[in-house]
Symmetry: D3
Subunit: 320 residues, 6 copies
């Protein structure tokens, strides 16, 4: 069984994979024939594949997100590796494989991530702030167990959103120790709430974003989270005009830093400035780490990364 | 009694005015002496003024927003007209003057503006939308009677905010007739709600913005209005996830059109596109009208207008 | 006979259409074969189509803008509907169809649009202004009967340019009533002249832009219209340095508002500010209306609209 | 007699100067006294000066642009050299000084500049182009004898506009020799016409820009020159749609290169690209040369230059 | 003895301060008199002050950076606190005060900062990298003991540059632990070298930037540090084309992230991305901390901070 | 034998060409077949070509940069001319053709270009400057004999880099004569050094850029050239802090003018301003000239040129 990121040109192979994408297309020939344009995935990455001469039965058998056993050959096409599938069948119970083995996941178990988030939540000393954060986390706890943080940008994997939160909490804890004038409650609450409405902005399955919801497009997760805080305060009987409520909303609203990046107000509290940079540093370094992980080790350069001024990242020689 | 916009160089005059600004300053001489740096206002405009040799009594007598009787002389200083005050006393009851005679106001009575707004509100056919708009208007009805729409940008006068709403409603009604595919309820609701949270973003007195509130700076009127809609829906038992609530919030959130102008999302509904242009057209034309009104008719050009790419406006000769 | 915007996947159909585009291409097979890559159009919209195995005779028979009778099947290809043509012949007299039935048109007859434009022109009270506008309209009256207002951006249909003018004139009339300080002659003249030189900037046929002329690319319709005003004044013996001539040129030159949008000067007259927003509002709302009209009613979202920050427009549920 | 750029701190001096600016101001003292805020100029530069205790007679005697004999002392005020005038009288015939000795001028005589421009004009081989250029030059020949090229930006001195033209013609001649594919007629015509309408965009006296005309603000010299070419063609019976006329207008319209720099179209001919860079190089290098000339030689750095990204220019040590 | 940040309106006080700035100016009176325009400083902040009627002796006695004993009164002038000095004398030995008590300093002793930097330097495992970093640190060790990191932007205090380095090293160490794929040697070296050439870009005294050097303006500290690495490699016989040298130069060159922020190349290594964000986070949070520290605790808002989108920072109420 | 820029639709032809690019691809048919996707080149231009049914032998015979004899037919595909190759063989000695006949070259012999560069170098009067320039030229003399100046932007042909230098030197000589205050040594040195590190930023063969080097991507030619000057000074024992060294580095670092164009500092010397415009003018005019040369003379417009605001260039009719 061969991992996708180990395949090289002309490798013949057999293995289990997930059909991350599957589209029926037609050749340009006369008459045109149906074929499958596929993206094969496993935990190590993904690869474009073709399955020529898809029969009527095939078209009723295979669908996106199916687990399949594939026999094929890897070859280079337009400078990129691609797979030509010669045989394919759906996985059966006897194969003893589980879908979670085939998707990219956070390196920490979702339950552990949720545990950390809840523990942090409990450690918020201000009772009203804790109540508001708890209201929001409880609302979407199920989704926090598996949602990615974004479509492609960063943390685009199973439980990527809560992994992003937890890593930010680590960084936040360090910064609060280094600069004790920061209000630690506000930093913790801001980190947990800043992207929490992505759970309703997007729909996701197995760590893959399916689409943006109508609400997500029309309001965006930043304004949605601000509305959630309003809702939490009302439902839990907290004064809407209290400084806490306003400051929590400010943290969420300003965390993209600039208007052209989606924030209607700019950071105007020490903790809001900190939140923006904690978020940016974690997201950007994760993009770099993901790109290096999913680029074959024989390559000096990763592909261009849109979130990094569309630059590729250079991988130093090991001996350095 | 001379209106401010009629004064010219070397005019000696007596009249009643409001002290729009008053600051105690000191001359550079030795020893330095106290004087008042003043902005005199009346319904026709405002003018910078000096009151030299302010005595200790004077300093305890005169304060901003006082009505005063002034004797002085107008003279040109650094190419701008200025007043040197020779005598000044506070207005007494016998003078028979009222503060509302001294401030710039909307050309329609506040009560009439409120009447139009409420009538429009009642004409919204969708019951839940009407309920939400009514909740928000009721919340700040007092302030709508007198707040300006902005500090200096546009409609910076008594009842300027509700005047802006009413003029936009007129334009909105026209557009809905011209393009019947537009949802008129949504246009009406969007116009009434788009700037309504300015009443808590700012504090204003007599049509003059005093300052931005903490909440106003940290959240901004756009996000505040979105939160108010959330609050209205909860308090009035309307489904927070209904399309109406989301669309109303989208109208408000997107009405500045671009991220760099303060909108966290861009217009993505026909009515939101219309709202943005109705708002822009009314605001920009009012800036032009205000500038022409407060510039002496003998001047060909108004001062530079920040909201119009910092351009001055040319006044055509009458015979044209 | 099936309208294009009613076709759905796997529909077999026969009908009359216009060949909006037709290009001879070759398959990648060995040996490659010729086929037609076609855009079929009718009054309801347009659709991509293929006609495989085009013979030598076919290549001498079919050309762009031909009316044809087509038998084919609609199918989904790469998530977009496409037509595979099985039979195609040119329309004959007996078919009794006329080309004007197959193109998108303004919802008002061109003659009526021209009537409105001329009536408005006659209502301009200043004689010299009226003379200049009349000179320009007369120059290109034929083209005003059918030119679109743009290639794809907005009003891209038969008589779209004069329809845009007429709708703007309606809006202009409203604004002049709402703000009587505006010079109505200048507003009328500005609306009629602002895009009039598009008739020489572009060449168009049946409401479809064919290409930009050399003059159009090197000068642009804004500067061309300014030159036309100069020409009109000279030919009609009007003083080139009179305020009227200069103001009319200013209206035209500034109507794109900013240098990066093509205006060499920014609006510096009340009427020029109004013209810019009247133009913008009409163009943007027409984009929205066109997009909603040509998107199947079953779709929640229109395609992305380049002129609206590349956003798609959401169509509310009917019950709202 | 001391040149302005030779004065240093605490120099007492007597000399003849021009009053480039004179404004009556009042001291802050009680009672305030009148004084003159003056800019003294001579051919070497200019300096701020004060004349305290201006009498009523003084106020009726001295006006801007007067030549005066001054006795004063130079002193440093807020890090800048300034003059305190102790005595001042108007120049009389006996003094034998002429105003042209006191203003910055092009280093070549205006008559010689005009001679070069006319000779170049005559050397344009295409008769119609030559006719158009001649029409425009003849129209404003008087002003070309003395107008500056800009208010402060570059060539802001007597006959600066024609000097700029002549220097560009030299550079244009070199480029045409280096790249023979360029049309020399078009380069010559473009250089002479590109800024020629500045003569009506501005009013200037003695090489100093007084103000922008209404026409200049509303149309700008770029569009004005385009209109002049239209006028020239009509008056001289040249076909308005001929390629020559269009290309000449394109040269003028595109010479600022980008929309945000005022050009409604971008260069789309080889000669238009050349014209833009010939203009830019001459203007920028003149800014540098002017800044170095008018900065005392003891200074390492010139003041900041707005037209050069607001950078100061470093003057290398001589021995280099 | 009163600390500057404790003074309030109308306080009469006596104390020791440093003359951070002192300029001789003249009053506008007749005749004008000399006075000192002063900036008084101590370890808690700084304040504008006037010393009226400066005698000839005074002008030969007091100079910037002198320690003085001052008797004065604080008063509010144009909404800002200012001091009027009634008596002033230079500090004598008997006063027993030392200049280092009067300037803002890093909260860690310079010697300790240097110790940390050197220890970190020693811990770089790659010998050649260590050699290069050591060469650069040794070159400017003296200045690292006291230079600020910037003129006003951030860390503008005694030993601010090395304090910035040390805080970044702490953050770098955390990030390397959190993301072990990062090359720790490169992070350490990048942090120490990124701003090291500021020691030759600027001249500074007592933690205050005096001016930019010619070299600093013409090359900038980013390119200078790149040149230093070249120099270090040559002097220490390290291969100029080795990956280490190139990577170190890349770290330094790219650390401002974007071209418009001064970096000729954008980060293209994981460590370079990390360095940029470590630098940004430390600089921005220090700006916030400095602004809050030097703003009286009674103020809700700090002044506007240029480096934070020109926003003011809000200080939460304590009870939160 | 037919030159590429003379081919038109349906021409059958035989000739010698170079395989500028050759990639093995597969048809979409079943089973897919191998074919060559080729770019054929000669001294007149280049053209896309297909060689269908590439055999196993073919795949071991033909490689990029081979000279071949081709028999084929030109045909229009998607509005662009393309070649279908029917026969192809490698060139043999008997064919008597040389690779240099098949590539675009500077119109001057490389040896002559180098001669001019060296002569100019010798004419630099300052000994140390001359030494530094000589060190850099000597370092890469081989590459200067054949490198292009860029990948596609401008001077993308054999010896394009040294041709660019020589043309700039001509222009520089003219400017120094026109403005004698410029330091001619610095202009000469700046021109020779400004792009010299492109020889290590890129790898090129036969005038075609193969790729950017790791060093080229991580440092860029601007910073690399600055480092070379440092190296030259050290190796030749010239004071690194001398004004000459700093000024030479400034010339190189600032020649792209703005940060967003890659310069870490902006021009701050007269000669640096001149260098930027000399470079820009030569590069832009060469782009225009190249585009006109390689566009068939029957075409009015060149393709869009990325370096010229993505505009096409219009070719005037000859008779003009």
């Amino acid at each position: 069984m061969t991992l996708i990121n180990k395949l090289t040109n002309q490798d013949e192979f057999t293995g289990f994979y997930i059909l991350k994408e599957l589209e029926v297309k037609q050749t340009n020939g006369t008459p045109p024939k149906d074929y499958f344009d596929i993206v094969l995935g496993d935990s190590s990455g993904q690869l474009s594949a073709k399955f020529w001469d898809a029969s009527a039965t095939d078209k009723e058998t295979f669908f996106p997100m199916d687990l399949v056993k594939v026999q094929g050959i890897a070859h280079t096409y337009r400078e990129r590796l691609q797979v030509k599938i010669s045989k394919m069948r759906k996985v059966t119970e006897e194969d003893g494989v589980s879908i979670t083995d085939f998707i990219r996941s956070a390196p920490v178990q979702p339950a552990d991530l949720m545990h950390t988030i809840k523990q942090t939540l409990e450690s918020i000393q201000d009772e009203e702030m804790r109540t508001i954060v708890n209201f929001c986390v409880t609302k979407v706890e199920d989704k926090l167990m598996h949602y990615p943080a974004a479509k492609m940008h960063h943390h685009a994997f199973y439980a990527g959103l809560s992994y992003h939160m937890v890593r930010m909490l680590e960084l936040g804890e360090f910064i609060c120790k280094q600069r004790p004038f920061l209000n630690e409650d506000l930093i913790k609450a801001g980190i947990i709430l800043h992207d929490i409405a992505k759970t309703e902005e997007l729909t996701a399955e197995l760590g893959i974003v399916k689409e943006y919801s109508v609400q997500g497009k029309l309001l965006g997760h930043i304004s949605m989270a601000s509305n959630w805080i309003t809702e939490a305060a009302i439902r839990c009987d907290i004064n809407l005009h209290s400084e806490k409520v306003i400051c929590l909303q400010h943290m969420v609203l300003s965390h993209h830093n600039l208007g052209e990046w989606g924030s209607p107000v700019q950071p105007q509290m020490a903790e809001a400035v900190a939140l923006h940079f904690i978020d940016a540093m974690d997201a950007k370094l994760q993009m770099v780490e993901d790109a290096l992980d999913t680029t074959p080790e024989t390559e000096e350069w990763t592909p261009f990364i849109r979130g990094l001024e569309n630059k590729a990242i250079y991988r130093m020689k090991k001996e350095l």
